[in-house]
Symmetry: C2
Subunit: 205 residues, 2 copies
Protein backbone atom coordinates (compact mmCIF):
# COMPACT_ATOMS: atom_id res chain seq x y z
CA UNK A 1 0.00 0.00 0.00
CA UNK A 2 1.43 3.31 -1.09
CA UNK A 3 1.72 5.85 1.67
CA UNK A 4 -0.51 8.82 1.01
CA UNK A 5 1.11 11.75 -0.73
CA UNK A 6 2.24 14.54 1.57
CA UNK A 7 0.40 17.77 0.77
CA UNK A 8 2.55 20.25 -1.08
CA UNK A 9 1.75 22.96 1.41
CA UNK A 10 3.55 20.94 4.06
CA UNK A 11 6.57 20.37 1.85
CA UNK A 12 6.70 24.09 1.18
CA UNK A 13 7.13 24.82 4.88
CA UNK A 14 9.96 22.37 5.49
CA UNK A 15 12.69 24.57 3.94
CA UNK A 16 11.57 27.38 6.24
CA UNK A 17 11.88 25.10 9.24
CA UNK A 18 15.26 23.92 8.01
CA UNK A 19 16.52 27.46 7.55
CA UNK A 20 15.45 28.52 11.04
CA UNK A 21 16.88 25.38 12.62
CA UNK A 22 20.18 25.78 10.80
CA UNK A 23 20.36 29.29 12.15
CA UNK A 24 19.60 28.07 15.67
CA UNK A 25 22.41 25.54 15.32
CA UNK A 26 24.82 28.23 14.15
CA UNK A 27 23.86 30.28 17.19
CA UNK A 28 24.72 27.36 19.44
CA UNK A 29 21.16 26.42 20.35
CA UNK A 30 21.09 22.65 20.89
CA UNK A 31 17.43 22.10 21.67
CA UNK A 32 14.18 23.62 20.51
CA UNK A 33 10.48 22.92 20.85
CA UNK A 34 7.54 23.31 18.51
CA UNK A 35 6.56 26.32 20.60
CA UNK A 36 9.99 27.94 20.33
CA UNK A 37 10.32 27.32 16.60
CA UNK A 38 6.74 28.39 16.00
CA UNK A 39 7.24 31.68 17.76
CA UNK A 40 10.27 32.43 15.64
CA UNK A 41 8.35 31.72 12.46
CA UNK A 42 4.92 32.99 13.34
CA UNK A 43 3.46 29.51 12.96
CA UNK A 44 1.46 27.59 15.56
CA UNK A 45 3.25 24.89 17.50
CA UNK A 46 0.48 22.44 16.59
CA UNK A 47 1.16 22.96 12.93
CA UNK A 48 4.85 22.31 13.29
CA UNK A 49 4.22 19.10 15.20
CA UNK A 50 1.64 18.01 12.69
CA UNK A 51 3.90 18.75 9.74
CA UNK A 52 6.82 16.85 11.22
CA UNK A 53 4.61 13.92 12.22
CA UNK A 54 4.15 13.06 8.54
CA UNK A 55 7.77 11.99 8.39
CA UNK A 56 8.44 10.34 11.72
CA UNK A 57 8.85 11.01 15.41
CA UNK A 58 11.75 13.36 15.88
CA UNK A 59 11.14 14.76 19.32
CA UNK A 60 10.94 13.76 22.94
CA UNK A 61 8.07 14.50 25.28
CA UNK A 62 8.91 17.05 27.88
CA UNK A 63 12.10 18.06 26.11
CA UNK A 64 11.47 19.00 22.50
CA UNK A 65 13.77 18.45 19.53
CA UNK A 66 17.52 18.18 19.15
CA UNK A 67 18.27 20.97 16.70
CA UNK A 68 21.12 19.14 14.96
CA UNK A 69 19.06 15.97 14.64
CA UNK A 70 16.11 17.81 13.13
CA UNK A 71 18.40 19.64 10.70
CA UNK A 72 19.74 16.26 9.66
CA UNK A 73 16.28 14.77 9.21
CA UNK A 74 14.84 17.70 7.28
CA UNK A 75 17.89 17.65 5.05
CA UNK A 76 17.23 14.00 4.32
CA UNK A 77 13.53 14.54 3.66
CA UNK A 78 14.20 17.42 1.30
CA UNK A 79 17.14 15.53 -0.25
CA UNK A 80 19.54 18.40 0.26
CA UNK A 81 22.19 16.45 2.15
CA UNK A 82 24.34 16.26 -0.94
CA UNK A 83 24.67 18.93 -3.59
CA UNK A 84 22.38 19.36 -6.57
CA UNK A 85 23.84 20.62 -9.80
CA UNK A 86 21.88 23.55 -11.19
CA UNK A 87 22.01 25.18 -14.60
CA UNK A 88 21.68 28.93 -14.86
CA UNK A 89 20.17 30.32 -18.05
CA UNK A 90 20.71 34.00 -18.67
CA UNK A 91 23.86 35.92 -17.79
CA UNK A 92 22.43 39.40 -17.59
CA UNK A 93 22.33 41.58 -14.51
CA UNK A 94 20.36 39.12 -12.43
CA UNK A 95 22.03 36.00 -13.81
CA UNK A 96 25.40 37.49 -12.96
CA UNK A 97 24.31 38.20 -9.40
CA UNK A 98 23.08 34.61 -9.08
CA UNK A 99 26.32 33.23 -10.51
CA UNK A 100 28.28 35.19 -7.92
CA UNK A 101 25.97 34.42 -5.01
CA UNK A 102 27.84 32.50 -2.32
CA UNK A 103 24.80 31.22 -0.49
CA UNK A 104 23.94 28.16 -2.57
CA UNK A 105 26.76 25.80 -1.73
CA UNK A 106 26.11 25.39 1.98
CA UNK A 107 22.46 24.70 1.43
CA UNK A 108 22.55 21.92 -1.09
CA UNK A 109 23.06 23.54 -4.49
CA UNK A 110 25.84 24.23 -6.92
CA UNK A 111 25.65 26.08 -10.20
CA UNK A 112 27.47 23.92 -12.68
CA UNK A 113 26.88 25.76 -15.95
CA UNK A 114 25.81 29.19 -17.13
CA UNK A 115 24.23 29.80 -20.53
CA UNK A 116 23.43 32.85 -22.57
CA UNK A 117 22.32 33.42 -26.13
CA UNK A 118 24.18 36.67 -26.72
CA UNK A 119 27.32 36.03 -28.81
CA UNK A 120 28.98 38.99 -27.08
CA UNK A 121 28.62 37.23 -23.74
CA UNK A 122 29.44 33.67 -24.72
CA UNK A 123 32.97 32.86 -23.66
CA UNK A 124 33.11 35.62 -21.05
CA UNK A 125 33.67 34.75 -17.40
CA UNK A 126 31.40 35.64 -14.51
CA UNK A 127 31.79 34.49 -10.94
CA UNK A 128 34.14 31.71 -11.99
CA UNK A 129 31.92 30.47 -14.81
CA UNK A 130 32.58 30.70 -18.50
CA UNK A 131 29.32 31.58 -20.23
CA UNK A 132 28.29 28.82 -22.63
CA UNK A 133 26.28 29.00 -25.81
CA UNK A 134 22.61 28.40 -25.14
CA UNK A 135 22.45 26.30 -28.29
CA UNK A 136 24.70 23.79 -26.55
CA UNK A 137 22.35 23.64 -23.59
CA UNK A 138 20.30 20.54 -24.41
CA UNK A 139 23.39 18.45 -25.06
CA UNK A 140 25.26 19.65 -21.98
CA UNK A 141 22.30 19.26 -19.64
CA UNK A 142 21.72 15.72 -20.84
CA UNK A 143 25.39 14.82 -20.57
CA UNK A 144 25.64 16.19 -17.05
CA UNK A 145 22.22 14.85 -16.08
CA UNK A 146 21.20 18.21 -14.66
CA UNK A 147 17.70 18.23 -13.25
CA UNK A 148 17.37 21.75 -11.88
CA UNK A 149 17.64 25.10 -13.63
CA UNK A 150 17.30 28.77 -12.84
CA UNK A 151 15.85 30.93 -15.58
CA UNK A 152 16.99 34.56 -15.64
CA UNK A 153 16.13 35.57 -19.19
CA UNK A 154 13.66 38.19 -20.46
CA UNK A 155 9.98 37.29 -20.11
CA UNK A 156 9.66 37.01 -23.87
CA UNK A 157 12.09 34.10 -24.12
CA UNK A 158 11.32 32.33 -20.85
CA UNK A 159 8.74 29.88 -22.17
CA UNK A 160 10.98 28.83 -25.06
CA UNK A 161 13.85 28.32 -22.64
CA UNK A 162 11.62 26.32 -20.31
CA UNK A 163 10.53 24.10 -23.21
CA UNK A 164 14.12 23.30 -24.04
CA UNK A 165 15.00 22.68 -20.42
CA UNK A 166 12.12 20.23 -20.10
CA UNK A 167 13.18 18.49 -23.31
CA UNK A 168 16.65 18.14 -21.86
CA UNK A 169 15.32 16.38 -18.79
CA UNK A 170 15.11 19.21 -16.28
CA UNK A 171 12.48 18.52 -13.61
CA UNK A 172 12.57 21.70 -11.57
CA UNK A 173 12.73 25.29 -12.79
CA UNK A 174 13.27 28.36 -10.66
CA UNK A 175 11.85 31.09 -12.85
CA UNK A 176 12.96 34.69 -12.36
CA UNK A 177 11.23 35.90 -15.53
CA UNK A 178 7.99 37.75 -14.76
CA UNK A 179 5.75 35.38 -16.67
CA UNK A 180 3.89 32.16 -16.01
CA UNK A 181 5.37 29.05 -17.51
CA UNK A 182 3.49 26.07 -18.85
CA UNK A 183 5.25 22.79 -18.25
CA UNK A 184 4.23 19.12 -18.44
CA UNK A 185 3.18 17.09 -15.42
CA UNK A 186 6.15 15.93 -13.44
CA UNK A 187 8.02 19.17 -13.91
CA UNK A 188 7.87 21.76 -11.14
CA UNK A 189 8.21 25.50 -11.41
CA UNK A 190 8.86 28.00 -8.66
CA UNK A 191 8.52 31.70 -9.29
CA UNK A 192 10.52 34.65 -8.02
CA UNK A 193 9.18 38.02 -9.09
CA UNK A 194 9.93 40.88 -6.70
CA UNK A 195 7.13 42.97 -8.17
CA UNK A 196 4.55 40.31 -7.36
CA UNK A 197 5.79 40.29 -3.78
CA UNK A 198 5.65 44.07 -3.55
CA UNK A 199 2.15 44.12 -5.01
CA UNK A 200 1.07 41.62 -2.38
CA UNK A 201 1.86 44.26 0.22
CA UNK A 202 0.54 47.45 -1.37
CA UNK A 203 -3.05 46.25 -1.05
CA UNK A 204 -2.67 46.67 2.71
CA UNK A 205 -1.06 50.10 2.65
Amino acid sequence: MASPAIPDIIISRLPIYLRALTRMASEGQAITSSKDLGERLGISSAQIRKDLSHFGEFGKQGTGYQVAFLVEKLGQILKVKGEWEVALVGAGQLGTALARYQGFSHRGFHISVVFDIDPAKIGQWIGGYQILDQNEMPRILREQRIRLAMVAVPAGSAQAVADRLVEAGVKGILNYAPINLTVPNGVRVQYIDPVVHLQRMTYYL
Copy 2:
Protein backbone atom coordinates in the same frame (compact mmCIF):
# COMPACT_ATOMS: atom_id res chain seq x y z
CA MET B 1 -21.09 47.55 8.84
CA ALA B 2 -17.50 46.84 7.88
CA SER B 3 -17.15 44.65 4.84
CA PRO B 4 -15.47 41.39 5.78
CA ALA B 5 -11.72 41.28 5.30
CA ILE B 6 -10.59 39.66 2.07
CA PRO B 7 -8.52 36.55 2.77
CA ASP B 8 -4.83 37.09 2.19
CA ILE B 9 -4.64 34.05 -0.05
CA ILE B 10 -6.91 35.84 -2.50
CA ILE B 11 -4.87 39.03 -2.38
CA SER B 12 -1.77 36.98 -3.06
CA ARG B 13 -3.21 35.73 -6.34
CA LEU B 14 -4.22 39.11 -7.71
CA PRO B 15 -0.69 40.16 -8.77
CA ILE B 16 -0.44 36.90 -10.71
CA TYR B 17 -3.69 37.67 -12.50
CA LEU B 18 -2.51 41.20 -13.17
CA ARG B 19 0.77 40.02 -14.60
CA ALA B 20 -0.90 37.55 -16.94
CA LEU B 21 -3.51 40.08 -18.03
CA THR B 22 -0.89 42.73 -18.68
CA ARG B 23 0.91 40.26 -20.87
CA MET B 24 -2.29 39.43 -22.74
CA ALA B 25 -2.82 43.12 -23.33
CA SER B 26 0.72 43.54 -24.63
CA GLU B 27 0.07 40.66 -27.01
CA GLY B 28 -2.98 42.44 -28.33
CA GLN B 29 -5.58 40.21 -26.68
CA ALA B 30 -8.62 42.36 -25.91
CA ILE B 31 -10.90 39.83 -24.22
CA THR B 32 -10.38 36.87 -21.95
CA SER B 33 -12.48 34.55 -19.84
CA SER B 34 -12.01 32.90 -16.50
CA LYS B 35 -11.45 29.68 -18.42
CA ASP B 36 -8.79 31.22 -20.70
CA LEU B 37 -6.96 32.94 -17.86
CA GLY B 38 -7.23 29.88 -15.65
CA GLU B 39 -5.69 27.64 -18.27
CA ARG B 40 -2.74 30.00 -18.63
CA LEU B 41 -2.16 30.01 -14.91
CA GLY B 42 -3.08 26.48 -13.96
CA ILE B 43 -5.93 27.72 -11.79
CA SER B 44 -9.58 26.70 -12.02
CA SER B 45 -11.95 29.12 -13.71
CA ALA B 46 -14.26 28.94 -10.69
CA GLN B 47 -11.50 30.19 -8.45
CA ILE B 48 -10.75 33.14 -10.68
CA ARG B 49 -14.41 34.15 -10.81
CA LYS B 50 -14.75 33.72 -7.07
CA ASP B 51 -11.64 35.75 -6.36
CA LEU B 52 -12.74 38.62 -8.59
CA SER B 53 -16.27 38.57 -7.20
CA HIS B 54 -14.93 39.87 -3.89
CA PHE B 55 -14.22 43.20 -5.54
CA GLY B 56 -17.09 43.72 -7.95
CA GLU B 57 -18.58 42.48 -11.20
CA PHE B 58 -16.03 42.95 -13.92
CA GLY B 59 -17.24 40.59 -16.63
CA LYS B 60 -20.13 39.99 -18.94
CA GLN B 61 -22.03 36.76 -19.28
CA GLY B 62 -21.42 35.01 -22.52
CA THR B 63 -18.42 37.18 -23.31
CA GLY B 64 -15.90 37.23 -20.48
CA TYR B 65 -13.69 40.12 -19.41
CA GLN B 66 -12.21 43.09 -21.22
CA VAL B 67 -8.49 42.63 -20.60
CA ALA B 68 -7.73 46.34 -20.38
CA PHE B 69 -10.61 46.97 -17.99
CA LEU B 70 -9.56 44.14 -15.71
CA VAL B 71 -5.94 45.34 -15.73
CA GLU B 72 -7.26 48.75 -14.69
CA LYS B 73 -9.40 47.32 -11.91
CA LEU B 74 -6.73 45.03 -10.50
CA GLY B 75 -4.30 47.93 -10.55
CA GLN B 76 -6.77 49.95 -8.50
CA ILE B 77 -7.42 47.15 -6.04
CA LEU B 78 -3.72 46.53 -5.51
CA LYS B 79 -3.04 50.28 -5.47
CA VAL B 80 -0.35 50.06 -8.10
CA LYS B 81 -1.83 52.61 -10.48
CA GLY B 82 0.64 55.21 -9.29
CA GLU B 83 4.20 54.56 -8.29
CA TRP B 84 5.37 53.55 -4.83
CA GLU B 85 8.71 54.76 -3.61
CA VAL B 86 10.88 51.94 -2.30
CA ALA B 87 14.07 52.03 -0.29
CA LEU B 88 16.79 49.51 -1.02
CA VAL B 89 19.05 48.51 1.85
CA GLY B 90 22.26 46.77 0.92
CA ALA B 91 24.34 47.56 -2.14
CA GLY B 92 26.17 44.28 -2.52
CA GLN B 93 25.93 41.93 -5.45
CA LEU B 94 22.19 41.44 -5.14
CA GLY B 95 21.40 45.00 -4.13
CA THR B 96 23.27 46.25 -7.17
CA ALA B 97 21.30 43.95 -9.45
CA LEU B 98 18.06 45.22 -7.91
CA ALA B 99 19.15 48.85 -8.28
CA ARG B 100 19.82 48.25 -11.95
CA TYR B 101 16.69 46.21 -12.62
CA GLN B 102 14.47 47.95 -15.16
CA GLY B 103 11.33 46.00 -14.40
CA PHE B 104 9.99 47.94 -11.41
CA SER B 105 8.88 51.20 -12.96
CA HIS B 106 6.20 49.90 -15.29
CA ARG B 107 4.61 47.86 -12.56
CA GLY B 108 4.12 50.45 -9.87
CA PHE B 109 7.43 50.79 -8.06
CA HIS B 110 10.42 53.07 -8.04
CA ILE B 111 13.56 52.76 -5.99
CA SER B 112 14.18 56.16 -4.51
CA VAL B 113 17.15 55.56 -2.24
CA VAL B 114 19.88 52.99 -1.75
CA PHE B 115 21.68 52.49 1.55
CA ASP B 116 24.74 50.61 2.64
CA ILE B 117 26.77 50.52 5.82
CA ASP B 118 30.17 49.98 4.23
CA PRO B 119 32.15 53.27 4.18
CA ALA B 120 33.91 52.09 1.04
CA LYS B 121 30.57 51.94 -0.77
CA ILE B 122 28.89 55.05 0.56
CA GLY B 123 29.06 57.78 -2.05
CA GLN B 124 29.59 55.34 -4.94
CA TRP B 125 27.07 55.24 -7.76
CA ILE B 126 25.15 52.16 -8.91
CA GLY B 127 22.41 52.11 -11.50
CA GLY B 128 21.95 55.84 -11.23
CA TYR B 129 21.82 55.88 -7.44
CA GLN B 130 24.36 57.29 -5.08
CA ILE B 131 24.74 54.95 -2.15
CA LEU B 132 23.75 56.65 1.08
CA ASP B 133 24.95 56.05 4.61
CA GLN B 134 22.71 53.59 6.41
CA ASN B 135 22.95 55.74 9.52
CA GLU B 136 21.01 58.41 7.65
CA MET B 137 18.29 55.93 6.81
CA PRO B 138 15.75 56.65 9.56
CA ARG B 139 15.81 60.38 8.89
CA ILE B 140 15.60 60.05 5.11
CA LEU B 141 12.83 57.48 5.16
CA ARG B 142 10.76 59.64 7.46
CA GLU B 143 11.36 62.75 5.40
CA GLN B 144 10.41 61.02 2.17
CA ARG B 145 7.56 59.10 3.82
CA ILE B 146 8.78 55.85 2.33
CA ARG B 147 6.63 52.89 3.27
CA LEU B 148 8.23 50.05 1.36
CA ALA B 149 11.76 48.64 1.54
CA MET B 150 13.81 45.86 0.04
CA VAL B 151 16.38 44.28 2.31
CA ALA B 152 19.46 42.84 0.62
CA VAL B 153 21.91 42.65 3.50
CA PRO B 154 23.59 39.62 5.10
CA ALA B 155 21.31 37.44 7.23
CA GLY B 156 23.14 38.50 10.35
CA SER B 157 22.14 42.15 10.02
CA ALA B 158 18.68 41.72 8.50
CA GLN B 159 16.70 41.81 11.74
CA ALA B 160 18.46 44.95 12.95
CA VAL B 161 17.81 46.61 9.60
CA ALA B 162 14.17 45.56 9.73
CA ASP B 163 13.82 47.02 13.22
CA ARG B 164 15.11 50.37 12.03
CA LEU B 165 12.91 50.30 8.95
CA VAL B 166 9.86 49.68 11.10
CA GLU B 167 10.86 52.47 13.45
CA ALA B 168 11.13 54.78 10.45
CA GLY B 169 7.56 54.01 9.41
CA VAL B 170 8.08 51.33 6.76
CA LYS B 171 5.02 49.08 6.46
CA GLY B 172 6.17 46.52 3.91
CA ILE B 173 9.51 44.74 3.68
CA LEU B 174 10.69 42.57 0.84
CA ASN B 175 13.38 40.49 2.49
CA TYR B 176 16.12 38.88 0.42
CA ALA B 177 18.14 37.84 3.45
CA PRO B 178 17.77 34.12 4.19
CA ILE B 179 16.30 34.57 7.62
CA ASN B 180 12.88 35.04 9.18
CA LEU B 181 12.10 38.52 10.40
CA THR B 182 9.99 39.44 13.39
CA VAL B 183 7.95 42.58 12.89
CA PRO B 184 5.05 44.19 14.74
CA ASN B 185 1.44 43.83 13.65
CA GLY B 186 0.60 46.10 10.78
CA VAL B 187 3.94 45.54 9.08
CA ARG B 188 4.13 42.97 6.29
CA VAL B 189 7.11 40.95 5.19
CA GLN B 190 7.55 39.03 1.98
CA TYR B 191 10.47 36.65 1.53
CA ILE B 192 12.62 35.85 -1.46
CA ASP B 193 15.14 33.10 -0.88
CA PRO B 194 16.11 31.14 -3.98
CA VAL B 195 17.38 28.25 -1.88
CA VAL B 196 14.00 27.82 -0.21
CA HIS B 197 12.40 27.64 -3.64
CA LEU B 198 14.93 25.11 -4.86
CA GLN B 199 14.47 23.00 -1.74
CA ARG B 200 10.73 23.00 -2.37
CA MET B 201 11.44 21.13 -5.58
CA THR B 202 14.13 18.66 -4.57
CA TYR B 203 11.70 16.76 -2.40
CA TYR B 204 9.96 15.64 -5.58
CA LEU B 205 13.10 14.65 -7.50
